[in-house]
């Protein structure tokens, strides 16, 4: 399975020899850790749902945020007492973390049958249900339900206020852990579970306020590591939820598109941002109600942007993948969203031909960059496909020349070049040369 943490990434190999003193210190650390673990386990075994046990889980998770079972203990403590009982939606498996790019039309997260999971259902209502007790370290939350909340409305409002405080405090609890372990799946997934509770338990306006702050967190995490795919996925999910009718939202596609522009300007090599851009564009154009000439103008601008980038960094794969995305829109418009559906075959041929010409010009400054030859090869083959014709002699000569270059510049992938040579019917030519 993919990396679940616990593996050593980028830590220098050192000698495993410890002094007796170091060994003693480590054994002491182990003893303390195991004692804490024992306390949590025995608390769970006795059905303890008190804030005391909750605090022990905080302590343990700070030592080991990968301990998924303890995150689950925490969830169960929240749903069996620390959060109010008002929500019908606190059972497991009601949260779908799959971000959808078309969130505005996606129904609320799919609930799976939870009856079949009875063996691991949270424990039934606890004797301390309704008792206040909220935050990671100070369970005396501000939203106490007291005798003063006599009317049902007041009680419901107080319940919501209490849940708001509990959930906010929980969200804060995970922040330092995420900053320390930004690739820990369990923290991200716990946080998303909390945010689902926010939707299920709080009023739309309260919930929206909470979710809006998540965008800031996603940005912060992406400032620290521009390629963290957990953070990008989180951002997509947060945006999809903020756009959804459940949070009274509307499309954020313009703002998100702007965000990718900012990220790309900061670092042209950020393929995650280019990828995100490629996913947003079809929606962006639809929602702008872009007509054919606007779409053409948009494509021209994107091609201009990427060409400018390629002029300074032709050895950057990220740029070429985005360029390929734009070209595929011209070559292979069937079966996926397209930027310029009204383009005639002639338009497409003109565009691809022009791109090939521009890329050839790149060779004047960079004749030893293999990605340029790869693009030329690929796009020349596309052009033939687009026009439903076989390549002519001049084109074949060019292909043969580029393949020779690739074999020299990029011998690691010789197996690929040789195969391509054969597929293009160029093998005889090579035999002739040698």
């Amino acid at each position: 399975m993919a990396d679940q943490g616990g593996s050593a990434h980028g830590i220098a190999r050192t000698s495993r020899v410890r002094t007796e003193e170091q060994r003693k210190v480590e054994l002491d650390k182990i003893a303390k850790y195991r004692e804490l673990e024992d306390q949590v386990r025995s608390g769970v075994a006795r059905g303890d749902t008190s804030p005391g046990l909750f605090q022990l889980t905080s302590k343990l998770l700070r030592l080991n945020p990968e301990y998924y079972t303890v995150w689950n203990v925490r969830r169960r403590l929240l749903t069996s007492g620390l959060l109010s009982k008002s929500s019908a939606a606190s059972s497991p498996l009601t949260v779908s973390l799959t971000a959808s790019p078309t969130a505005t039309t996606t129904p609320p997260s799919a609930a799976l049958s939870s009856s079949s999971l009875s063996a691991t259902q949270p424990s039934p209502a606890s004797p301390t249900a309704g008792r206040s007790g909220t935050t990671a370290d100070s369970p005396a939350g501000e939203g106490k339900v007291s005798a003063a909340d006599a009317t049902p409305e007041a009680a419901a409002a107080a319940g919501q206020k209490k849940d708001f405080d509990v959930l906010k405090s929980e969200l804060e609890f995970t922040i330092p852990l995420l900053l320390d372990s930004p690739k820990c799946y369990w923290i991200w997934s716990y946080r998303l579970w909390l945010l689902q509770q926010v939707i299920d338990r709080l009023s739309v306006s309260m919930a929206r306020r909470v979710w809006q702050e998540e965008l800031g967190l996603a940005s912060k995490m992406l400032t620290r590591d521009r390629r963290n795919f957990h953070a990008w996925g989180y951002r997509r999910h947060v945006v999809a939820q903020l756009e959804s009718p459940r949070l009274g939202g509307e499309s954020m596609v313009e703002a998100e598109f702007e965000y990718t522009t900012r990220m790309i300007r900061m670092d042209l090599s950020n393929f995650s941002a280019w990828h995100s851009r490629s996913k947003l564009i079809p929606r962006l154009l639809d929602e702008r109600g872009a007509d054919d000439s606007t779409r053409k103008g948009f494509l021209d601008e994107e091609l201009g942007l990427i060409r400018e980038a390629l002029n300074v960094g032709p050895e950057d794969q990220s740029l070429w993948y985005y360029h390929q995305f734009l070209i595929l829109n011209l070559v292979n418009p069937v079966g996926h969203p397209t930027l310029t559906p009204a383009f005639s075959l002639e338009d497409r041929v003109t565009y691809v031909t022009r791109e090939i010409q521009d890329i050839k010009e790149l060779l004047e400054d960079y004749d030893d960059v293999k990605l340029i030859y790869e693009a030329l090869l690929e796009y020349t083959l596309y052009l033939g496909q687009l026009q439903g014709r076989k390549l002519d002699g001049a084109e074949k000569d060019e292909l043969a020349e580029w393949l020779q270059k690739l074999k020299k510049l990029d011998p690691m992938r010789n197996g690929r070049w040789t195969e391509l040579e054969r597929e293009c019917g160029l093998v005889e030519m090579e035999a002739f040369e040698t």
Binding site: S7, I30, Y68, P101, L117, R227, G233, R236
Partner: protein, 328 residues
């Protein structure tokens, strides 16, 4: 090691016996804090270590009966397995449990002393989202194509794939495809070599490999090999031994392993060995761990490095295991 590998120059030799000893030592490190911090990965770790030992030709290096006892001690009433006794059931540890039992031919013990195959199948099948076809990792709902692949892997080994909606799951995988031929963790997510492995392998198990754009994906995957011979997992990222599995197994499934430089990758993996104490790390000179040790060895096995048992590129198990169970 075979005679052939002994004739290789020193820097191209696999220190096989050191790796065996390293893996055997993993459960004796109870005086190290790290041992306790990684208990949530114990069952996965056992799978990683045991598979590595099988590929090294030492399947007996961990005692069989104790292995079965430990695996069964992690099982819950609902059929799922936790990472260790006292840990909640999860898809990832359940898949590891099934893979371990498959490897040591112990499904009979699961029937006789555990909760039985059917219960395991039911646990996994209940984690499918019947609306979208994808799978959650556990009752709390995190969804990821890793879990979908894990479900297909374990259920097909148990002969219970018909418990789930395979077509829906296939649709979901297709929805995770990107223009570059790769796949992401969910629809809309960037292509990532680990996720590509899970998606292509899931489609292969479902008999729908025809849905993969093999040419475009092959190009993307072959570009993962960078100067120094190692593979990265996404464009413009650093190389890491674990991609010797995610990238290479995917290339193997689409018949394009020859699109990268075999010898350079072998040399890179071997440079990541700890020649004295055994084990393989992410990059040369880093700390070793059992996870990178397995994926270095599976990479070498796919590249037909002499003396290693062949690995199944879809299941990440010895080929002898999948041949015995699936007759493939």
């Amino acid at each position: 090691m075979s005679e052939k590998s002994k004739t290789l120059p020193k820097e191209l030799q696999l220190v096989a016996s050191a790796h065996v000893k390293y893996i055997q030592s993993l459960d004796t490190r109870k005086d190290e804090y790290e041992y306790w911090l990684t208990e949530h990965l114990r069952l996965n770790g056992l799978y990683w270590g045991l598979t590595a030992l099988h590929l090294l030709g030492h399947p007996e290096a961990l005692p069989r009966t104790e292995t079965i006892d430990f695996v069964l001690s992690c099982q819950h009433e609902n059929g799922g397995f936790g990472a260790a006794p006292g840990h909640d059931a999860h898809m990832l540890s359940t898949v590891s449990a099934v893979q371990i039992l498959a490897m040591i031919d112990a499904f009979d013990d699961l029937e006789a002393r555990g909760k039985g195959k059917a219960q395991v199948g039911k646990y996994i099948a209940n984690l499918q989202n019947r609306q979208t076809g994808t799978f959650a990792g556990d009752e709390w709902g995190e969804e990821d194509t890793r879990f979908l692949y894990g479900a297909f892997n374990a259920l097909s080994l148990l002969g219970l794939l018909d418990l789930v909606d395979v077509d829906k799951a296939v649709d979901h995988v297709v929805a995770c495809a990107n223009f570059d031929g790769g796949y992401g963790v969910s629809p809309g997510a960037e292509s990532h070599a680990g996720q590509i492995f899970t998606c292509v392998a899931a489609l292969t198990i479902a008999g729908r490999k025809n849905l993969v754009d093999a040419d475009r994906l092959g190009k993307w995957l072959s570009e993962r090999q960078i100067a120094g011979g190692g593979l990265n997992g996404r464009p413009e990222k650093k190389e890491d031994v674990c991609y010797s599995w995610w990238v290479l197994s995917s290339l193997e499934m689409i018949g394009k392993t020859h699109w990268i430089d075999r010898d350079q990758l072998i040399a890179f993996i071997l440079r990541c060995q700890d020649p004295e104490n055994g084990g393989i790390s992410d990059r040369p000179g880093d700390m070793v761990d059992v996870w990178h040790t397995l994926f270095g060895l599976t990479g070498l096995s796919l590249l037909e490095y002499p003396g290693l048992e062949p690995v199944d590129e879809v299941y990440c198990l010895p080929k002898s295991t999948t041949e015995r169970i699936l007759g493939k």
